[in-house]
Every structure is written in C-alpha cells, then in structure tokens.
C-alpha cells in the first residue's frame, strides 16, 4: 500500500522539481512576456519569494506533524468538519489543475502536430498513463521521473545552446521602461503558476523516509531555486531570441525549436521538444493526480488508497473536455483569476491550519481561526502579488 512506501529526500526533491518545471517551461514564457515584456525574468525573481515562503510553511508543518499529510494534520489541528470545508476548495483546485494540464496537452497536440485527431484521444491516453503510474506507487514515480526529467531538461538546454548564434541580448534592455507594474503583473501571474502550487506537496512530504528528515529542507529549497533558475534562463533566452514580441505566440519554446538550424541536418526539431513537453505535462499530471487521490481517500477515510484512482481520472478527462468547450472565455479569465483561485484553495487552508497549530502549541486551548479569516483573503492576495519592496 502507498502508505508504507518511502522515498528518499533526494527523490522527493526531484519529484518536486519535476512538478514545478514540467509543464511550466512551455507554458510560462509566452503569457509572462506578454504581461511583463522585458522584465519577465524579474517577475520570476519576485514571485519566487512567496514561493519560498510557502515552501517554508510546508516544511514547518511537516516538522510539526511528521509523517502526516495535510488532511491528516488538519484533522488534528482544526477538526474533521473544518478540514472538510477547507478541503472543498483544495480538491476543486486539484481537479482543475489536473484537468487543465490535460487540456493543455490536448490543445497543444491538436493545434500544432496532430490536428485531425480529436481531443479526447489525448486526454484519455495521458490520463490513463497517469492513472497507471499513480497506481504503481510513489516509488515507481520517483524512479521513472528522475530519468525522464533529466532527459527532458537536457534536451531543452541543448536547444538553448544551439540557438546561441541567434540571440540578441540587447533585447533584454531597457529594464522596466514602463514602471514597475508590468513586472508586478507578471509576478502575479507566476505566483499563480507555478510558485503557488508548491502547496500541493503538503500531501506528499510524508513519504520521505525518516532518516532523511534533516536533509529534506535543504533539498526542497534547492529544488525550488533550481526551478526558478531554469525558468529564468528559459525566459531570458526567449526574450533574447524573439524580443518582447515573444508574448504574442503561445508555446514559445516550441517556436524556438522551429527556428533552430544546425548544419543542415538538425532542423525543425520541434517535434522532439513537443515530446519532451508532453512528457513534462504527463509527469505533473501524475503527481497532481496522486495528490488528489490521496486527498479524497483520506477525506473519506478509506483504507484502500488505490481504488479511487480510475474514477478520479475519468472525472479529470471529462473536465478537460468540458473546459475545452468553453475555451475562449476560459483563456481570458484563467490567467487573471488563477492566482487568486489558488490562494483561496491552497494558501489559505494551509495558513489557517498553520496558525491554528501554532496557537495550539503555545497554548493548550484554541479552536479559533476557522471561518473568520475569509477577510484575510484580500490582504493575502495583495501581499502575495506585491512584495515589491525588495526589487524596487
């Protein structure tokens, strides 16, 4: 059963990196650059800060309640019913995330490479693969993804290196021609995706084996920083290649690969990049599905933790297909609403539980917090998107 499986801290950190980077590499640069233009890389730097903060919350809670997932220690801290209420947005967000990752793959495939194939084929295949992998357990996932992410990132860096002759570094300047706001806009966006999604890992930290507890923090921070670095490099290269116009076309990395031409043989290698990106999305979808499955299983307090995987996967497939039918409206809203959405669904529950448990460890009493903190949402979102004092 899953609960007995343990992985090393290093493996979890790698899973974390995979999760954060997997689909981000392709999806982030274009919209980010469309918001922040040349300052996109600064947005990343800025939004990495709340990411790190959230990660430290995670790790703190993990130390308080070792070996437990978010649902489990939330039960202990705030009780069954509040947990249930908090879990509603949490699960909704997880479902939405998984569905949108799958949707992303669908859109990508049908828009660029295999446009005559209907979308549900891709949805079903990706989710089936994810479901099978989740059922195989987190050990299998850690092992597989280590190999796959190494291959994927290497391929991507090869692309970046091959494009060196075409870079125009002057496009990185000027910095902040229009003031700080575009950059903050970008930071708002990247806070939503990927840095805010760090919290999904509250469900997964418990799988680290006990003797690795001390190094876990170090590894996780390293992963997050590496992820930020990779994204920054990716964005910088994209700007250098395409300039501020990069934001106009989606899937900038794909466009990147299209342009590269080496020695007349290696041209138009975007299909390989496409494969790498689909692999990355699959990996993220698998991890998210795993977290989702675990959440629902623990909410319902079931003993068999693999039985729900398939129905949940079917729901995700359906969601992705439903979402695809409301496409136009979806795209507009998602990039602006998403950061708020995950704040409400991920960050706030975690903060609530954390505050409550901090009170509990200081005093003997304290059922406080609870629902009275919805007023915090506004201020949290505000503070999440403008910690700008550091970068001024």
């Amino acid at each position: 059963m899953k609960n007995q499986e343990t992985i090393t801290a290093g493996q979890l950190a790698r899973l974390f990196f995979t999760f954060m980077t997997g689909s981000s590499i392709i999806n982030i640069p274009a919209p980010l650059i469309s918001f922040a233009k040349n300052d996109a890389w600064m947005s990343l730097l800025v939004s990495a800060v709340p990411g790190l903060l959230l990660l430290s919350c995670l790790l703190y809670m993990n130390k308080q309640y070792p070996g437990l997932t978010f649902i489990e220690y939330s039960n202990k801290a705030v009780g069954k019913w509040v947990t249930f209420i908090l879990a509603i947005p949490f699960c909704t967000a997880l479902f939405h995330m998984t569905a949108s990752i799958v949707l992303d793959v669908d859109l990508f495939m049908t828009s660029s490479m295999m446009d005559e194939t209907p979308m549900y084929v891709f949805s079903i295949i990706v989710m089936s693969a994810a479901a099978i992998t989740v059922r195989a357990g987190i050990e299998a996932m850690a092992r597989m993804f280590t190999i796959m992410i190494v291959v994927t990132i290497s391929l991507i860096f090869v692309i970046f290196i091959l494009a060196i002759p075409d870079y125009r570094p002057e496009q990185l300047l000027p910095l902040m021609p229009q003031g700080i706001k575009p950059m903050l806009h970008g930071a708002y966006f990247t806070y939503g995706f990927p840095f805010g999604e760090v919290i999904v890992f509250t469900m997964l930290l418990k799988f680290v084996r006990k003797q690795d507890g001390k190094v876990l923090n170090k590894y996780m921070y390293t992963s997050l920083i590496m992820n930020a670095v990779v994204l920054i490099i990716s964005v910088v290269c994209t700007i250098m290649m395409f300039g501020p116009m990069a934001g106009e076309r989606k899937y900038s990395l794909y466009q990147f690969a299209r342009i590269i031409q080496v020695v007349d043989i290696i041209e138009r290698i975007e299909s390989i990049i496409a494969m790498a990106l689909i692999a990355g999305s699959y990996m993220k979808a698998t991890i998210t599905l795993f977290a989702l499955n675990l959440t629902i299983t623990q909410l319902l307090k079931l003993k068999d933790d693999r039985i729900l995987v398939l129905p949940i996967s079917v729901i995700c497939v359906l969601l992705s297909l439903i979402l695809s039918e409301g496409m136009a409206r979806f795209e507009e809203t998602v990039s602006s609403v998403h950061p708020l959405f995950i704040t409400v669904s991920y960050v706030i529950p975690l903060l609530i539980v954390m505050i409550v448990s901090m009170f509990r460890s200081h005093k003997a009493s304290g059922q406080g917090a609870g629902s009275g903190s919805s007023a915090e949402s506004g201020s949290n979102a505000g503070s999440g998107s403008s910690p700008g004092s550091s970068s001024g």
Partner: protein, 526 residues
C-alpha cells in the same frame, strides 16, 4: 551387532512397498521401510519396486567358509559405466588382508562389525538403513550390496555416465578470456567453480526436485558478499521445487521469479564459470541443476544486459566504448522500426531533407503504408531467424544467405518493401544480436512490435507513451525483491561505474566486495 530374530517389519506386498517408497530417503515424511534381514525379502522388495526395469542387474554372491553365506549386489547397468572391480571381493579382501589377518573366518558378524565401526576399505562404502535411501542410491548410479542376515546395506559409488566434455562456450564466445564452459554434469560444474572461488565462505546447498525426475538442484553463494535478505527470500522461494518436476533450470526460474508475465527475464544465464565466479563475488546466488549446462544467477538486474564478461578482460577505454555501443544497439533493437514509422508517417519534417527525398523516392509505388511494410519485413526476419535455429549446421548458413538475398532483393523488386525498410530491418536484427544476453535480446525484439503499432497509431506521441509504459514496467519490476532497474533507478551512483562505462578495476574491485553492504544500507532507498 545383535541379531535379533527375522523381524519382518518390511511390507511384503509389492504394491504397498511401492507406495511407501516416495521421494528420496532423506526427507520422506512417511514411514521408512527398514531393510530386512532376510535376503529373499530384500530381493523381493527390489524386484517389486523395479519391476519392468530391464537394466537392473542382480549379482548374487556367496562368501565365507564353504561359501555358506549369501549376499547380492544390485546396480543399474545403464548408469554404471564400467564396473572394473567386484566390490564384494575387494571388501572381503580388505577385511582379510588388513583387518583380521589371514586364517580368520569371515562371517557376517565380522563384516557387520567392520563396517559399523567404519573400517578402512579400499572401496569405501556407505551404510544404508532404509529402503528408500537404497533405492535413491541405486538410481544415482551406486552399487548396493545386501547381505543376508544384516539389516543394513552398503552402497558404493561407481563410475557415472560420461557426459559432454568441457569445451568452449557455445552461446557466449569471447575473443579474450577463458574458454571453459559448463556441462551437464553437476559435479563437474561445481568443480569448475570451486577451482575459481577458493574460499570456505563459498557455500553450496542442495535441494531436490520432486516427482519422477528427482533432479538435484544446487545453489551457491559467498557468505559475506550476498545480501542476507536476498538470500532469505531465495531460500523461501526455492522450497517450492521439492514437489515439482524439474526438467531444466528454466523450470526453477519460472517457479521462483517475481513476475511471470513480464517480457523481461529476471535472472541471468551463463555457461561460463568465470562469469559465475565474478557474479558470486558480487553477491549473487548461483543455481545449478543436474542435467543442465546453463547456470542461473540471481538476482538478475537490467544493467547486466549490457555486460559481457569480455568487458573485464579488455582495456577500460575500449570496454567503455563497446558498452556504449551496446547501449545504442539496445535502443536501436527496440525502437528503430517504430521511429521510422513515426517519422515517415507523422513527422517528416524531422528527417533531413536530402534523406527525406530519398525515402519518398524509395517508397513510391509501395502499396502498403509504412506500418504494414515494416510489419511484414520484421515478420519475415523473425521467421527466418526461427527457421535458422532449427536447421542443421551445414544447411543453416546457406539458408541465411538465401533468405537474406532472396527475401531482401526479391521483396524490393516485387515492390513489397522499400530498400530503406530492408536496411532498417537488417539493422534492427543485427542490433539485437549485439546484446550479450540471449533472453533479453528476445524480449527486446518482442517489444518492438507493440511499439510499432503504437507509433503507427499516434506517431511520436504514441511512441512516447509506449516507451514510458515500458519504463514504468521496468521500474516496478523486481528480481528476488531487488529493484530491477537499479542502479539507474533508484540511483546508486557508486554502482553506475559499471553500467554504462567500465571503470578501471581498481575502482571496481573495491566496490563489489562492499556491494552487499551498500545494498543493505540502501535497501529502503527508493
């Protein structure tokens, strides 16, 4: 030495005697039939047990003063190669000359005394107490002597059936390195290994199969190198064979392997004692079976797929490059046809334009889509290979030449296949032969068909997911409880020195001895 009466606890009816004689005498759970003191009863029992076995020989003897005492020897004529000595005679001679002195009468009491006190005799015999054991001995090729009035019997080891000579290994030839291979005789094989592993910590334990074949299976390991949990797991599983018919070592493999339905083999076979010795030092368990020349090494990991013993007999740089070559061959054998199908059907832009033109040109006029063309050609190749295995040697090479020329050329001219396809099929076949382990090469070949199908359906996307499923399977597979894909996943960097590259012996020799320490420390890792 007490005589007692002619107690007949023996069952006198043949049928009942047959039914109690089950398995080897060592561990029959049922009643053991004691040897009767009456010679006639013993003889009757033997005749009943082995009724219908024409090759059983009885030799009655008389001895003693006035040749008044009776005895007889029994043996299988077909198992005993030559019987130079009359064992009875040499026994008596020894008694007379060495122990008692001339002139003493040889009586039963004297003989009994002599043997029960383990007197030295030129042909040392072993005392047997019960009937089942005597039967087992006879079936092993020993000669058993029954003496009238004694409730024990003597068994002497005799020359066994000649087997194949020790020659060059057939399935694993090398250019450099030793050229001994194991044969079907278990003792010879064990001897070959013991000469190489001269350590009291090299332990060997025997276990017998069941049923009519009673095959002896021996497993060995080096105490201190082998991982204790693996050994315990192995011992737990090997107990299964005691009531099954074991005809060949592969039966043992099937009974103790982790996953019967996986296309990948979980144990490694070899017929080279040097490979076995190296594996033993690495902490593996070797399993040998009477009557099979191949030896099995457990646990078998995927990384051993790339290893051939010759790697260690050549220089570091050379071996490393050759290993990388093999790795590429492995990938080619698995994916080349699928890549071709995916590229030509779905992603032609990936092919450099010059080559693309050549391909399009070649494929003009071929009635089938790339997938069917590939399928047909691969199928022909497999057919050819399978046919070639069965043909006697003189004809075999002719068939392969004919097959290659005829099918290749003719297919091209008939327009069934394009030259590119033939090249690809040939490359795939050759690549699969470059993989050192025969059984893994087969599984790779097998797996390329589903990959071809998925590539034909969904192009690169399908190929990606097909490969991922295979990877997933490899990553979850276990061999005797050890993760199959170690040391690649879970990552064990120290052992990676021996997977893709071949690090110099100075670094390798240090780690194998400590490997079991690494394994037990890392046992919970990933």
């Amino acid at each position: 030495m007490t005589e007692g009466g002619n107690q007949g606890e023996t069952v006198s009816q043949g049928a009942a005697a047959n039914s109690t004689l089950k398995g080897s005498g060592k561990d029959s759970g049922g009643a053991k039939t004691p040897i009767s003191k009456s010679l006639d009863e013993n003889r009757q029992l033997i005749e009943d047990t082995f009724s219908g076995c024409y090759d059983l020989v009885y030799l009655p003897w008389s001895y003693g003063p006035k040749l008044g005492f009776k005895a007889f020897s029994v043996y299988f004529d077909t198992l005993v190669e030559e019987k130079k000595d009359n064992y009875m005679k040499s026994v008596l001679q020894d008694l007379v000359t060495h122990e008692i002195g001339p002139g003493t009468d040889i009586t039963l009491a004297v003989i009994m005394d002599f043997f029960e006190k383990n007197g030295v005799s030129r042909q040392s015999g072993q005392l047997i107490d019960d009937f089942e054991f005597a039967v087992a001995r006879m079936l092993r090729g020993d000669l058993v002597v029954f003496i009238d009035g004694w409730d024990k019997a003597l068994s002497f080891q005799t020359v066994m059936v000649q087997g194949r000579q020790i020659t060059e290994p057939i399935s694993e030839p090398v250019v450099l390195g030793p050229r001994e291979s194991t044969v079907e005789n278990l003792k010879k094989n064990i001897g070959l290994i013991r000469t190489r592993v001269r350590s009291p910590r090299f332990k060997l334990e025997a276990i017998s199969g069941g049923g009519e074949t009673q095959t002896q299976v021996v497993y060995g390991y080096i105490d201190g190198s082998v991982n204790p949990e693996t050994l315990a797991e192995f011992k737990r599983r090997i107990g299964v064979i005691t009531d099954k018919e074991i005809l060949d070592i592969s039966f043992v493999e099937e009974l103790i392997e982790d996953s019967t339905y996986s296309p990948f083999p979980q144990f490694r076979y070899t017929e080279r004692p040097d490979v076995v010795a190296a594996a033993l030092i690495d902490g593996k368990i070797v399993v040998m079976c009477q009557g099979t020349g191949m030896m099995m090494l457990c646990p078998g990991l995927f990384s051993e797929l790339l290893q051939s013993s010759e790697d260690y007999y050549q220089r570091t740089v050379v071996s490393t490059l050759i290993r990388l070559l093999r790795f590429i061959a492995c990938i080619i054998a698995l994916t080349l046809p699928s890549i071709y199908i995916a590229l030509t059907t779905y992603h032609p832009e990936l092919i450099p334009s010059v080559l693309l033109l050549a391909i399009v040109d070649a494929r003009e006029g071929i009635p089938f889509p790339a997938f069917f063309e590939a399928l047909i050609m691969e199928f022909f190749f497999e057919l050819l290979r399978e046919a070639g295995v069965r043909l006697p040697r003189p004809v075999g090479s002719a068939v392969s030449i004919v097959g290659a020329l005829v099918i290749g050329e003719a297919a091209i001219s008939a327009g069934i296949a394009s030259p590119i396809m033939v090249v690809i099929v040939a490359l795939t076949g050759i690549a699969s032969f470059a993989v050192p382990q025969y059984n893994t090469a087969i599984s790779l070949r097998l797996l390329r068909f589903p990959l071809m199908a998925v590539a034909a359906l969904l192009g690169g996307f399908g190929l990606l997911f097909g490969l991922m499923l295979i990877l997933l399977h490899l990553v979850t597979l276990r061999s005797l409880g050890q993760p199959y894909f170690a040391p690649i996943a879970p990552i064990r960097p120290r052992q990676l020195l021996d997977v893709f590259v071949r690090a110099p012996l100075k670094q390798l020799v240090r780690s194998p001895r400590n490997r079991h320490m690494h394994m037990s420390i890392n046992r919970k890792k990933g």
